[in-house]
């Protein structure tokens, strides 16, 4: 997220749409790191993530004339997310398979079986963060994507629906299922909830 005022962003977008390359570079630089961390957590490899972001930014420049509706940031994330998911699909031998199992509401809540550290006190714990990374990596890609767009990038559900081209109900379900899966991994490692 950039701390620049909206009016400044709007001005840069207008200049970029008018062909001002420096304005576009300025806009892209503001999101470069965020796009990279997002792409990296989707595809898992640094070189692929770097290529994806570079390609996405260049593609955004070429098609900036068609930018409308979304926030500029969401538009960039949409392009990068699509490329990252395409990359994952192309890695699969059978690309016709969906990345996600069908969404359903049959979500289970694993309960702690033994006392462990309080989850809310683990934010600085490297082991806990490593466990979260592992748990995220094990999620179906589209759940992971929705969760990252919400919890790391802070997009509202409506924008996540547009970025990932799904209904808002699907977004809600993916985010919830993703969080629950991460939470269950931590619980399985012996942690208990704050009130548990």
């Amino acid at each position: 997220m950039s701390g620049a005022p909206d009016s400044e962003i709007e001005l840069l977008i207008e200049r970029a749409r008018g062909g001002d390359t420096r304005a576009f570079e300025d806009l892209a630089r503001r999101e470069e790191r965020a796009l990279y961390r997002h792409a990296l957590r989707i595809v898992g490899t640094t070189s692929d993530a770097e290529d994806i972001v570079q390609d996405a930014l260049f593609s955004a420049w070429r098609s900036i004339g068609s930018f409308q509706g979304l926030s500029f940031r969401a538009w960039l994330f949409r392009i990068a997310t699509n490329r990252a998911l395409d990359q994952l699909r192309s890695r699969k031998r059978r690309p016709e398979l969906p990345l996600d199992p069908p969404d359903d509401d049959d979500v289970t809540w694993a309960e702690p079986v033994a006392p462990g550290p309080d989850l809310t006190q683990l934010a600085g714990d490297r082991e806990a963060l490593a466990a979260v990374e592992t748990a995220l990596a094990s999620l179906p890609a589209e759940q992971r994507t929705a969760l990252l767009l919400r919890d790391v990038e802070g997009f509202p559900y409506e924008e996540i629906a547009v970025i990932t081209s799904v209904e808002i109900g699907t977004v809600k379900s993916r985010i919830h299922r993703g969080r629950l899966a991460v939470r269950n991994v931590l619980i399985a490692r012996g942690w208990r909830g704050p009130d548990g």
Partner: protein, 235 residues
């Protein structure tokens, strides 16, 4: 009462419509299990948000503004110019090897002074009254460059003539060139230098200085490399 499990994430995100939000609020007052789950989900979100930020190993923003249309032709031009300068460097180095006079620093200075001296002397006879020794500068370019290396006194008669001829120049003419005039007693000592100067002067054009071409080749080559890198950085 049924637990609103599926709504808890949207609840903590404030993404439920007001009626559903109120329903969950009401349920949480009475359900310790759902309160625990809400707390766990919030803790999970906090952990995801606390993940360290990876940093890319390179710049990912394409350089769009740095590749104007004239950049590529300029790079080609610089590359060709560098090549041409290398060729001229080699050619001029070869040429100065044949006449290695230009490569030494100290004699060069002396030669330059003497050059002025000789030039004046060369003109002097024209202004002299009849009877003064006749000097014909014409033989100078015709003399073999190797003559310059011969000891002064035993130099070829032509070269000797050129050097010694102007020696008895009139005081007036010498007065115009004080350094040369003061060096008059050392005319014999300078004879060899003067001879060299007379002989090499027509070839001391800066264009034949190999270091000039080498410097030009380096500058053009560096410019070509810089332009090439700039072009490659642009998408």
């Amino acid at each position: 009462m049924q637990h609103p499990h599926a709504d808890l994430s949207a609840y903590i995100d404030g993404a439920l419509d007001p009626a559903a939000q109120a329903t969950v609020d009401g349920h949480l007052v009475t359900c310790a299990l759902c309160r625990a789950h809400v707390a766990q989900l919030r803790a999970t979100v906090a952990l995801v948000q606390a993940l360290p930020d990876p940093v890319p190993s390179r710049r990912l923003v394409p350089r769009l503004a740095t590749a104007p249309a004239w950049l590529a032709p300029l790079r080609t031009l610089m590359t060709l110019a560098s090549g041409a300068a290398v060729f001229l460097f080699l050619a001029s180095a070869l040429a100065t090897n044949i006449t290695p006079l230009a490569t030494s620093g100290a004699p060069s200075t002396t030669a330059r002074e003497a050059s002025g001296d000789t030039a004046v002397k060369g003109q002097a006879p024209a202004a002299q009254p009849a009877g003064a020794p006749t000097v014909t500068p014409a033989p100078a370019p015709a003399v073999s460059p190797y003559a310059a290396f011969a000891p002064g006194p035993t130099a070829s008669p032509a070269a000797d003539n050129v050097v010694r001829g102007p020696a008895p120049v009139t005081p007036d003419a010498r007065g115009d060139t004080p350094p040369a005039a003061s060096a008059a007693p050392a005319a014999a000592l300078n004879a060899q230098d003067a001879a060299r100067t007379t002989l090499s002067a027509p070839q001391r054009s800066p264009l034949i200085n190999p270091w000039l071409w080498l410097a030009l080749a380096i500058v053009c080559g560096a410019a070509a490399i810089a332009l090439n890198r700039r072009l490659r950085a642009s998408v």
